[in-house]
C-alpha cells in the first residue's frame, strides 16, 4: 500500500500549482473567468506548455499519463486555484479520441480546443436519453438537435457531439463554425455554450459510442471530484485562517466552540471526499469505474455544498462579497454538483447497481 504520489506526478502537481499561484492569482482569475472569452488564452498556453493536457492521455495516444491518478493530480491543482480554463473539455475529448483511435497531437498541445456536447435540456445526465439525431447525408452525416450548457463550448473549434444514429448513440466531430454556437459566462466563472445543430455536417467517429461516452464521463467525474477536493482544501484553509484572525467580543472567533466543532465536521467531510476520489481514480478505466465514479460524485456533491455553505456562514458578511476570494470558491463548489450528474442522479445509479 502506498498513498504517496509518484515523483513525476508530484513534480507535475508542483509545477502547475506554482504556475497558477504566481501567474494566475485571484484578480487575474476573476478578470478572465467573468469576461469574454471566459478564460485566459495566455494561461491556456502556459498550462499546455507545462504538460497539463499531455498528462491526461496515455502514451499510445501521444500523452504521458492518462490514468485516474494523472487526471486527479492535474485537476486538484486546477481546483486549488479555481482555474477557469476549459481543461475538462480537453480531458473528455481526449478520452473519446483515444477510443476512436484519432490523432490528438493538436488537442494535447493545446493548439486546437475541443468541447464535448452530450447534455440536452430534457436529458442532462443520461447519455442514453439524448434526442439529437444524425442521418446519413452524402459522404458524411447531418446532425439536428440542441446541446445545452456545453462546457468550454464558447471557445472550442471542434465539438464532439453525441447523437442518435440507427437506434444507437454515436459520436461525431462537428466544426464549431458549422453549428450555431452561443457562448456565455457562468455564475461560478468560466464559459459554456448553447449549440444548435440544424442538419449540421458531422464526421462519424464511433457508431456505437455508449462505452466510450461512459468512459469519458467517468474520467470527467474523477476530474470534477479532484477539482472539488482542491477547491475545498483552499476554502477550508481560508476559513481556518479567518477564524484565527477575525476578532469579535475581544477574542478570535475560532475560540467559539460552536465554530470549532463545525470546522472539524468540514475537515471530516473533506477527508472523506478525498478518499472516495482516490478510490474512483483508482478504478477509472476498469469494469467498476462507473459505480465508483457515481459514489464519488454523490459524496462530493454533499461535501461541496456543506463546505461552501459553512465557509460562508462562519466567515459572516465578508464571504458574501465578490471581492473576497472565498465566495468564488463557494460558488464553484456548489455548481460542480450540476456537472456530469448531481448528487441525486448518482445516488440512484449506486442504488440501481
Amino acid at each position: 500500500m502506498d498513498f504517496s504520489l509518484t515523483e513525476d506526478r508530484q513534480m507535475l502537481s508542483d509545477s502547475l500549482t506554482r504556475y497558477l499561484r504566481e501567474k494566475y492569482p485571484m484578480e487575474a482569475r476573476n478578470a478572465a473567468a467573468y469576461a469574454e472569452p471566459f478564460h485566459a488564452p495566455a494561461h491556456w498556453e502556459g498550462l499546455s506548455e507545462l504538460g497539463a493536457l499531455f498528462a491526461l492521455a496515455p502514451e499510445e495516444a501521444g500523452g504521458f499519463g492518462g490514468t485516474g491518478f494523472d487526471v486527479s493530480v492535474v485537476f486538484e491543482a486546477l481546483g486549488g486555484a479555481l482555474c477557469p480554463e476549459p481543461v475538462l473539455a480537453a480531458l473528455m475529448a481526449s478520452r473519446l479520441m483515444t477510443a476512436a483511435g484519432e490523432d490528438q497531437e493538436a488537442l494535447l498541445s493545446g493548439a486546437v480546443k475541443y468541447a464535448v456536447a452530450i447534455g440536452e435540456i430534457d436529458a442532462w445526465y443520461d447519455v442514453d436519453a439524448v434526442a439529437t439525431e444524425a442521418v446519413a447525408s452524402g459522404e458524411g452525416h447531418a446532425l439536428t438537435g440542441r446541446k445545452s450548457v456545453v462546457y468550454g463550448g464558447q471557445v472550442a473549434e471542434k465539438l464532439l457531439v453525441a447523437a442518435r444514429l440507427d437506434g444507437k448513440v454515436a459520436l461525431f466531430e462537428v466544426a464549431a463554425e458549422a453549428a450555431s454556437v452561443t457562448g456565455y459566462g457562468m455564475i461560478d466563472g468560466g464559459g459554456a455554450a448553447e449549440v444548435v445543430l440544424d442538419a449540421t455536417p458531422g464526421r462519424l467517429l464511433i457508431a456505437d459510442a455508449g462505452t466510450a461516452l461512459a468512459d469519458a464521463v467517468n474520467a470527467g467525474i474523477v476530474a470534477l471530484c479532484s477539482e472539488a477536493v482542491g477547491a475545498m482544501d483552499a476554502l477550508y484553509a481560508m476559513t481556518l485562517d479567518y477564524l484565527r484572525t477575525r476578532k469579535q467580543f475581544g477574542v478570535a472567533i475560532g475560540q467559539f466552540q460552536a465554530l470549532q466543532h463545525r470546522s472539524v465536521d468540514m475537515l471530516t467531510e473533506i477527508e472523506q471526499a478525498r478518499s472516495i476520489t482516490i478510490k474512483a481514480a483508482s478504478e477509472l478505466g476498469g469494469p467498476e469505474a462507473g459505480r465508483y465514479a457515481s459514489m464519488a460524485k454523490n459524496l462530493i456533491g454533499r461535501a461541496g455544498r456543506l463546505v461552501a455553505e459553512e465557509a460562508i456562514q462562519m466567515h459572516g458578511g465578508i464571504a458574501m462579497t465578490w471581492e473576497y476570494p472565498g465566495s468564488h470558491y463557494a460558488k464553484r463548489l456548489v455548481m460542480i454538483d450540476a456537472q456530469l450528474g448531481d448528487t441525486d442522479y448518482h445516488l440512484s445509479r449506486v442504488m440501481a447497481a
Binding site: 445526465y125 462579497t321 463557494a330 456548489v334 450540476a338 441525486d344 445516488l347
Partner: protein, 394 residues
C-alpha cells in the same frame, strides 16, 4: 385549541387578496417573480400604492398613520402579499426607524420624519455594522464628538443595504469612549447630503449591488438629530431588534418558494421524465414541505403568545434560525431542479436561448444571495447564543 382564523380574520384575508389582485401592477409582479434586483422605481411605486390604501406602515398605530393591525392581521397581510408576488417592503424607515421615533423621538422629530417615511420622501438606511463590529455590535468605533450645536462624526459603516437609494441614514455612534462599550453609544439621524460622507458600492457574491460602505470624515450633524438622550443608543438598538424580529420566519416567502419549486419540478425534465417524478427529488421537496407546515404553526403559536403578552419573547430566535434554514433549503431546491441550466450568469443569454425557464434564470444567483439571511439581523449563531442565555438555564 382551535387552528382556524376567525370570521373577521378570514374576511380580512379576502379583502387583502382582492386588493392585490386589483392594484398590484403586472410589471411589478413579474419583476418579483423573476427574482432579479428590483429597481428603485418599482420599490417607490409599490410603496405609494400601499400608502394610498393606508396599508404601508403595517406595524404603526393609527395615530401615526398605520392601519392598527393585530399581529395576526399583519401575518395575514404578509402571507397574501407574498402570494400575490408583491415586493418586500423596504424595512429601514417603516419597520425600524418609525417605531424608534414613536418610542424615543421628540415630538418635533416625530412630526418631521414620520410623514416623510410614509410619503416616500425619505428613504432611510441602517448604519449599525462596521468592519470591526458585526456580531459584536457594541464594539463599534464610529465617533461622534460634540462641538457647539453639532456632533462631528468620523468613522466607517458597512453593509448598508440599499444605501445607494437612500437620502438618510440612522447610525449608532460612540459618544463616550471611556465607559463600558454599551454605555457610550448614541443613536443619531444623518442626512446623506451632508459634506464629508462618501458611499461606495460593495458587489455581492452573485454580482448584485445591494450593500454599500459609508465613510464619514468630519461630518457635522446638528445636535437636534440625536434620538433620545446622549449615550442611550444601546437601549434604542435593543428595542429596534425586537421590531426587526417581526415576520422573521418569512413563512409567506417560503410558501411562495415552495409553490415555485413544485411548479418548476413539474415543468423541467430529468432524463426524459418530469423531475417531480424522480423519487429522490420529490423526497427533498416533501421534506421541506413538512418543515414548513410545522413552521407555519410555530410562527402562529408565537404570534398568539405575542398577542397575549404584548411583546414577542426570546423564543422568536427559533423562528429566525429555522425560518432561514427552510428558506435556504427551498432556494437550494430551486437551483438544483435546473441541473446545468442553473449555470449561465443571469442576463447573459436572451430568454429564447437560455436553457432555464424564464422565471428561473436567477435561481442560482438567488440561492447564493440568500445565504445572507442566516448572517444578518443577528447571525444564526448569535440567535443560538440568545436562546442559550435566555431559555436553557444551564
Amino acid at each position: 385549541m382551535d387552528l382556524s382564523f376567525t370570521a373577521e380574520e378570514q374576511a380580512f384575508r379576502e379583502e387583502v387578496r382582492a386588493f392585490f389582485a386589483a392594484n398590484l401592477p403586472d410589471d411589478i409582479r413579474d419583476a418579483v417573480r423573476k427574482g432579479g434586483e428590483l429597481t428603485k422605481d418599482i420599490m417607490d411605486r409599490y410603496h405609494a400604492i400601499l400608502n394610498e390604501k393606508g396599508w404601508l406602515a403595517t406595524t404603526w398605530p393609527v395615530e401615526f398613520g398605520g392601519p392598527g393591525w393585530s399581529p395576526v392581521e399583519r401575518h395575514i397581510f404578509e402571507e397574501e402579499a407574498c402570494r400575490a408576488y408583491a415586493p418586500r417592503i423596504v424595512p429601514f424607515g417603516l419597520a425600524m426607524l418609525g417605531p424608534v421615533l414613536m418610542q424615543f423621538g421628540s415630538e418635533e422629530q416625530q412630526q418631521e420624519y414620520l410623514p416623510r417615511i410614509l410619503s416616500g420622501e425619505d428613504w432611510w438606511c441602517q448604519g449599525y455594522s462596521e468592519p470591526g463590529a458585526g456580531s459584536d455590535l457594541a464594539s463599534l468605533k464610529t465617533r461622534a464628538v460634540r462641538d457647539g450645536d453639532h456632533y462631528v462624526i468620523n468613522g466607517q459603516k458597512t453593509w448598508t443595504t440599499l444605501g445607494q437609494h437612500a437620502n438618510r441614514i440612522f447610525c449608532l455612534v460612540r459618544t463616550d469612549p471611556d465607559v463600558k462599550p454599551q454605555k457610550g453609544i448614541s443613536f443619531i439621524l444623518v442626512d446623506l447630503d451632508t459634506p464629508g460622507i462618501e458611499m461606495r458600492p460593495i458587489k455581492l457574491i452573485e454580482g448584485g449591488h445591494e450593500v454599500n460602505e459609508v465613510f464619514f470624515t468630519d461630518v457635522r450633524v446638528p445636535v437636534e438629530n440625536l434620538v433620545g438622550e446622549e449615550n442611550m443608543g444601546w437601549t434604542i438598538a435593543k428595542f429596534l431588534l425586537t421590531h426587526e424580529r417581526t415576520n422573521i420566519a418569512g413563512v409567506g416567502f417560503s410558501m411562495q418558494s415552495l409553490e415555485e419549486v413544485k411548479a418548476l419540478a413539474r415543468q423541467v425534465k430529468r432524463n426524459g421524465r418530469p423531475l417531480i417524478e424522480d423519487p429522490l427529488f420529490a423526497a427533498r421537496v416533501a421534506q421541506v414541505e413538512i418543515d414548513l407546515e410545522a413552521m407555519k404553526i410555530t410562527n402562529l403559536r408565537m404570534l398568539y403568545k405575542a398577542q397575549q403578552q404584548g411583546a414577542p419573547g426570546p423564543e422568536t430566535s427559533i423562528l429566525k434560525i429555522k425560518g432561514t434554514v427552510i428558506a435556504q433549503e427551498l432556494k437550494d431546491l430551486a437551483r438544483r431542479a435546473l441541473g446545468p441550466a442553473a449555470a449561465p450568469f443571469p442576463g447573459m443569454l436572451s430568454a429564447n436561448l437560455a436553457p432555464a425557464p424564464e422565471d428561473a434564470a436567477h435561481n442560482a444567483a438567488r440561492y447564493f444571495n440568500n445565504r445572507k439571511t442566516s448572517i444578518y439581523g443577528g447571525s444564526n449563531e448569535i440567535q443560538r447564543n440568545i436562546l442559550t442565555k435566555t431559555m436553557l438555564e444551564l
